[in-house]
Each structure stands twice: as C-alpha cells, then as structure tokens.
Amino acid sequence: MTQKPILLVEDNPDDVELTRRAFARNLITNPLVVACDGVEALDWLFGTGRHAGRDTSLSPAVVLLDLKLPRVDGLEVLRRIRADARTRLPPVVILTSSREEQDVINGYSLGANSYIVKPVNFVQFIEAARQLGLYWTLLNQTV
C-alpha cells in the first residue's frame, strides 16, 4: 500500500528543509508534497492550475499549513479546504510561528484539527514533528 502524501504548505525553503529533516529523523517516510503558497496548495488539492489533471482521489495524510503565505493566506486555504466535500476529511494542522490568540481561535473555528507553534529551538522542532507525524499519519492510516 502506497503511503499517502503529506502536504506541506510553506513558503520558507529553510523551514521546508528543516521540516523534511525533522520528518526524516523521525522515520516518517510519507512523500512530502510542498506548496510554496496558498494558490499552489489549492491547485494541488483540487487538481487545478499548475496541478491540473492530478488525480485528486489521492488525498493527503495530513495538511501542514503555515498561516502567513503569499497570495492566498493560510486561513483562506483552510476555509476552502473545509468548504469542499473532497477535502473535508484530511486533518489540517496549523504549523506556524505565530502565538497570536486570534489566529488560534480563527484556526479552530475554521476546522483546523491541531495547532502547533514552530519552536525556534531545532531539538524542540524535531520533537514536535515526531509527535505530529506519528499521531496524524497513524490516525489517518487506521481510518
């Protein structure tokens, strides 16, 4: 059985790289699809634009969504994901460096499954990625 991909919506290549390494250290082997902004993330999810023709039946194991994104921001992406029946089910984890309370509230009210503040410290970051990967990928596979 092929593993479901993890969709990482992140515009910062450093963070992408660190995330990739964090997953690798934690032996999370799901393919990592990276969208560098909200538009691309939506294109990938709905098979439009640059990703036109993609088999959208292949839904991601989890969507890791940065909030601050070029063009269409993370909360808008979340809103669209939850508004479409095809993408309603996959868990969405907001992964951001923001501690703003309003972001947390908005995220949960729009249907985010979890909210993780990206720590500055890399060790803590790896730990967070481990817990995240284990929890959500396992959870997803059992469904």
Partner: protein
C-alpha cells in the same frame, strides 16, 4: 357700562340723597298740609259759628221785639180796640205814630195791621199798602198759633223782595184771633250784609243760607257771583248735586265738607244748622284759594329741594369731576408709560382680532395694533397691516399659526412656542395671550440667528462626530497595523532565527567531524545567542499584547492572585525557603488577567532577586500615601542602587548582569504598562543588598 362713566358709589350716594330729601320733603309737606288744613277748617268753623250765632241772636231779637209789642198794654190794648172796632178817636193816630217810631227804630221796611180776614186796617208807611199773597196764604196758620213767628224768606209775585216776615198775632181776652201786625223785614238791612261780611279779603269766600224746599235746596241769600239767584236757585237733592255743600246742608248735615261749587270747582265748606229756624248755613271757600298759601309753601319747598338737589348734584359732580380728572391724569400717565413700553419694547408686539368661519372655527385674524419692533422684526409696515387680515397680507401663512392663535383667543389659555414663518423666512419665539374675548396679543422675538446657530451647531456636531469616527477609524487602522507589525515580528523574525538555529544544530550534529573545537564553540555561541533572541522577541510580543488587550475590570482580591502565583513559583523551585506575607482584603477593580501578569512579574522578580539568600521574605501589603491607598510588594533580596531607579521601568533596561540574574528586562516595563492602563502609578525604593519595594496604585473596588 355706567352712564358717562360716573362711578357707581357716587351715583348711589346721590340717589340716596335724592331719596332722603324726597322722603323728608314728603313727610314735611304732609305735616304742613295737615296743619294748614286744620287752620283753614278752624277758621271756616269760627266764621260759621260766628254767623250762626249772629243769625240766632238776630232772630231772637226780632221775636223779642214782637213779644215786647204783644206785652206792651198801651199799644196792644189799642190794637185790640181798633181791630174790635171799638177804638176811641185818636187811637189810630197813636198806633200809627207808635208804629212809625217802631219801624224806624228797627229799620223794618213796612208794618201792616190786618184783621183776621186779612183786610188791611193800617199801614206804615201809609203809601205802601199792597197786600202780600204769601202772607195771606200763611196768615190763618200763623194766627192760629197765637205766638209771634217768622214768615220765612219769600218774594212777592210782582218781583218785590225778597223779604222776611214777622207776624205778631193780636187776640182778644179769650184768645181768639182778632188780627195781626205784619212786619216786613228787608234782609238787606242787616241779614244779607251780615252774611256777606268776611273777615279777610278772600275772593272766593261765600256764605250761603239755604232752606230745604221739598226735594230741593233753596238758596236764600244772593251770591256774590250771581245775586239774581236769590230764591230762584233751587238745587234738586239728587245725584251729582249731593256733592254741593248747600245740598248737604239742606239735608241737615253739619261740619266740614269738601265738595264742589255749581261751577265744578273744588270747595271747602263748613255746614251749620241754624237752631230754631229752617235755615242751614254754608260757609265755603274755593279749595284753591284756601290752600293757596299751602301751595305757595309747596312751591317754596319744591324750590328748596331743587336747590338742595341741584347743589348736591353739583357737589357730587365736582367730586366726580375731580376724581375723573385724577383718574384721567393717572390713566394718561399709565397710557404714556404703556405707550413708551409699546414703542420701545425690543420684542415685537401686536394685538389682533380673531375671525371665525360660520362654524366658529378660526379662519383668519385682523391686525389691530402693532409696535415699531414688530415692523423691525418682520420687515412689514404697520400702515400696510393695521385693519387688514393676515391672509390678505400674507396669503401663504401656514394654517397652524391661525389655529394656534385661534385657540388662545377662544380658550383664553396663553401659549408659548417657536415656529418658522414661511412668508417671512424667519424663526420666531412667540408668547400669545388673550386680553379680551375674541382677541389675542402676541409678543415675539426673532430667533432666526439662534436657530441658524443651532443648526450650525448641529451641523458642526455631526461633522465633529464624523471626524471623531474618521480619527477612530484611523486609530483602529493604526492599531491593526501595529498588530500586523507585531504579528509580522512574531512570525518573520522568528523564522530566520529558527533557520539559523536549526542549521547550526544540523551542522553540530551531522558535521561535527569536519569542524575543530573552536568551530564547534562558535556554533554553540551562535545557538545560545539565537535562543536568547527568541526570548527577547517573545517578551517584546508579550509587552505589546499587554498594551493591546481590552480591559475587562472586575473586583479582584490581590492576595488570592498572589497566593496562586507564589504557589506556581514554589512548584517550579521547591527547594527555596521563602516566607510569604500576604495582607488580606486587598480589593481592587481591575482586569483579572492583567492583574495576574502584574503580580507574576513583581513576585517573580522578588523570587528571583532573593534567590541568593538562604531565607527570603516576600510581602504583599498596602500603605497610605497622601491619603491614597498604595499597594506594595517588598522583598529582602539584592535590591538596587536608587541612582538608576529612573531606568527601572524602561523596556529591556537591566540593573543586574545576566550572570547574576537572568532576564530580558521586560518584566517591569510590562508592570508599568499594566498599572498605567488602569490609571495608576508605580515606583520603587531599594537599597543594595537590603531588598526592594515596588509600589503601585490601582482603582479600588467599591466596598460592599
């Protein structure tokens, strides 16, 4: 209205005077009249009594004379002899001379001697021997009586007379009638003059001697007005004639009688019956003449009353005139004042008369008077308005004006209102009242300027509100920008830090063999610096959050919050020996979340700066400064140099080295921000190694 405006009390006073004088005059007049009538009656009575007594006396004298003849033997014997036909010579002459003397003495007009058959035997004077029919008629009766008697007034058929007759019968010894002496008495000789006599110069006074003759009264003496009536004036005793005194007297009445004379004039009469005679006496006088002095008195009285009342009227008139003059003067003064007020009043004033439709609803109104201010305030001319109606002058006048004024004029209730007059394009403040039914007066001021100012104020207010709203919107925008900035700092600054830290870590862990010891040391320092920068950024964001959080004040017990904070500190550092002294009942009204941050910082500082001492004491209490309640957090820790107290509350200001006490220097900045947001103040006192005290004020909770 009173006639001529004469004051009612004056008029009443005069009427009372008139009534009083009239009444007094009436009583006086009646008394006088009664007294005068009594006098007239008494006089009439005296005259009547006097005349009656004269008549009685005269008759007795005459009968006495006759008796003397009968009882004079010399004469009477000779008469018998002569009548018996046995007279001696010379007897006749003797009788004649005696009779002559007798006639002359008593002023008889004729004496005749007749025999029983009526034949004349002797006559004195001799030349007048005509017989008398009346005498002849009564002779047998008189002879039979045998006593001297009168033959009452009679007139000879030939028109001689009137006369009175005195009969002296002559009898023989056996009382048989032989004849008689017939004496003719001329009433003009004594009786008539006596009757005619009157004690004063009355023109209407009249004395009547009457005798009842069958069913009529016969007047026996000639009247002054008409002497021919004697023995001809027969007054039948019926009907209206009974009002005549002579008729009354003939019927036997006596005393005072008020009646009329034959000419119908009212007369006053005294009636008397003459004793021992068929006569009745009437003494009468015209009432007009009798009462003439009374009327004269009446006229005098009337003149007196007229003079009195005239004088009274004049006096009253004078008083009234003076009063009126004074009243007019005061009225003039009042009118003058009113006119001055009317002329110089700065408010517009006008008097109007309401005009109603046939249903009694106000339809229009007419201008009666207008003051100069009215002209000034409306721009209309009095000459164009007075006498005309408002709809004639200003047809576009709003109906509510007429309606409102109509209510005032009809109900009498005054009103006050402000209204815009379309015709005049002005705002007016109007007071209206009704000085008389159907009229109303208005007093008004032009408040157009004020109204325009009010409109302007409203406009400015609206504009100000707009501006405030704009500014608020601007501020909100700035605040949002600030939030965005904070957000940006939070997100954007942390991201490169994470990259630095992350890749440094990877370098250290995966490429350690490629680096020497110095290279690894450098990388470790980089990692430490990055971690600290992360803390600084977090603190900066915390401070910013304190500034932006919306306050939700409620009653908070500082002691309870402090206890909770200290419990957390103890949990994090269970080996410390710290004595906490918390005063109870420190109630404030503040945002509970921020109060917790405030105390967490202050108590955290105290906890931290006492960490070098094996035994520490931390105190939360309150004190009073200048009458104000001040809260304080005191510790016995490291303290600080008061020289740097001014820098204490600035962000990232630190008085201790990182080696001595870790920290970013943001805590007290946050404390100050929280206190200031609640409108309070905070300051600190300390001595090196003798501890520090942080003071702050917060709004107090209302005591329940």
């Amino acid at each position: 209205m009173r006639p001529f405006g004469i004051p009612l009390p004056l008029l009443l006073g005069y009427l009372v005077l008139v009534a009083g004088v009239g009444g007094a005059a009436q009583v006086y007049h009646r008394t006088i009249e009664q007294r005068f009538r009594n006098q007239v009656e008494e006089r009439l009575q005296a005259i009547a009594d006097l005349k009656v007594s004269e008549l009685v006396h005269w008759r007795q004298e005459r009968l006495g004379d006759a008796a003397v003849i009968a009882e004079t033997p010399q004469l009477f014997g000779r008469l018998r002899e002569l009548l018996a036909g046995a007279a001696a010579a010379g007897t006749e002459d003797a009788i004649r001379s005696w009779l002559r003397a007798y006639r002359r003495h008593f002023q008889y007009s004729r004496i005749r001697l007749v025999d029983a058959g009526g034949g004349c035997r002797l006559c004195e004077p001799a030349e007048d021997s005509t017989s008398c029919h009346v005498m002849d008629e009564h002779l047998p009766r008189l002879l039979a009586a045998g006593q001297p008697d009168f033959l009452d007034f009679h007139q000879e058929p030939g028109g001689v007379g009137p006369h009175l007759g005195l009969v002296v019968p002559v009898q023989d010894d056996r009382q048989r009638p032989l004849g008689a002496l017939l004496i003719r008495i001329d009433p003009e000789a004594f009786l008539y003059p006596s009757l005619r006599r009157w004690p004063d110069t009355s023109r209407s006074a009249e004395t009547l001697l009457v005798r009842r003759d069958g069913d009529a009264a016969l007047c026996l003496n000639p009247l002054r007005q008409d002497p021919s009536t004697v023995l001809h004036l027969r007054t039948p005793l019926v009907g209206e004639n009974l009002r005549l005194p002579e008729a009354r007297a003939a019927l036997g009445a006596e005393g005072l009688h008020e009646g009329v004379d034959p000419q119908g004039r009212p007369v006053l009469a005294m009636l008397r019956q003459v004793p021992a005679s068929p006569w009745a006496l009437v003494v009468r006088q015209d009432l007009a003449e009798a009462l003439a002095p009374l009327h004269e008195r009446e006229w005098q009285l009337l003149a007196f009353i007229v003079v009195l009342l005239g004088g009274g009227a004049a006096a009253f008139g004078l008083v009234w005139r003076q009063q009126r003059l004074r009243h007019l003067q005061s009225e003039q003064a009042s009118e003058q004042r009113f006119r001055l007020l009317f002329q110089h009043l700065t408010s517009g004033f006008a008097l109007h008369e309401l005009i109603c439709d046939p249903q009694g609803r106000p339809r229009d109104y007419r201008f009666l008077a207008i003051n100069p201010a009215f002209e000034r305030l409306t721009g209309l001319r009095a000459a164009d308005l007075v006498g005309r109606t408002v709809l004639e002058v200003m047809p576009r006048t709003e109906p509510e004006w007429i309606e409102r004024y109509g209510q005032v004029a009809l109900s009498g209730e005054p009103i006050r209102f402000e209204q815009f007059a379309r015709e005049l394009d002005r705002h007016y403040e109007v007071s209206a009242y009704s000085p008389a039914p159907g009229q109303f007066a208005v007093l008004f001021n032009d408040i157009s300027v004020r109204c325009r100012a009010e409109v302007e104020i409203r406009r400015l207010n609206t504009e100000l509100e707009h501006r405030v709203a704009e500014r608020t919107a601007g501020l909100q925008l700035a605040l949002r920008e600030l939030e965005a900035f904070s957000y940006s700092v939070s997100h954007d600054l942390r991201t490169p830090l994470r990259a630095i830290e992350g890749f440094s870590h990877i370098l250290l862990e995966e490429h350690a063999t490629s680096l020497d010891a110095e290279g690894r040391s450098c990388l470790e320092r980089i990692c430490q610096a990055v971690t600290r920068m992360g803390l600084l950024i977090d603190d900066l964001l915390r401070l910013s959050r304190v500034a932006r959080t919306e306050l939700q004040p409620e009653a908070v017990d500082l002691g309870q919050v402090a206890e909770s904070v200290l419990a957390e500190l103890r949990q994090a550092d269970p080996d410390r020996q710290v004595e906490a002294v918390l005063s109870p009942g420190l109630l404030v009204r503040a945002d509970p979340g921020l109060v917790r941050v405030l105390l967490a910082n202050l108590l955290g500082n105290a906890w931290k700066f006492t960490s070098r001492h094996p035994l520490a004491r931390i105190e939360l209490a309150e004190t009073a400064k200048d009458g104000e309640r001040v809260f304080l957090v005191r510790d016995d820790g490291a303290g600080f140099d008061m020289q740097y107290a001014g820098k204490l509350f600035g962000p990232f200001q630190r008085l201790h080295s990182q080696q001595d006490f870790a920290g970013t220097g943001i805590g007290l900045a946050i404390v100050q921000r929280i206190v200031q947001r609640h409108g309070g103040r905070c300051w600190a006192e300390a001595h090196l190694e003798k501890g520090a005290t942080f003071f702050f004020t917060l709004p107090l909770a209302e005591q329940t």
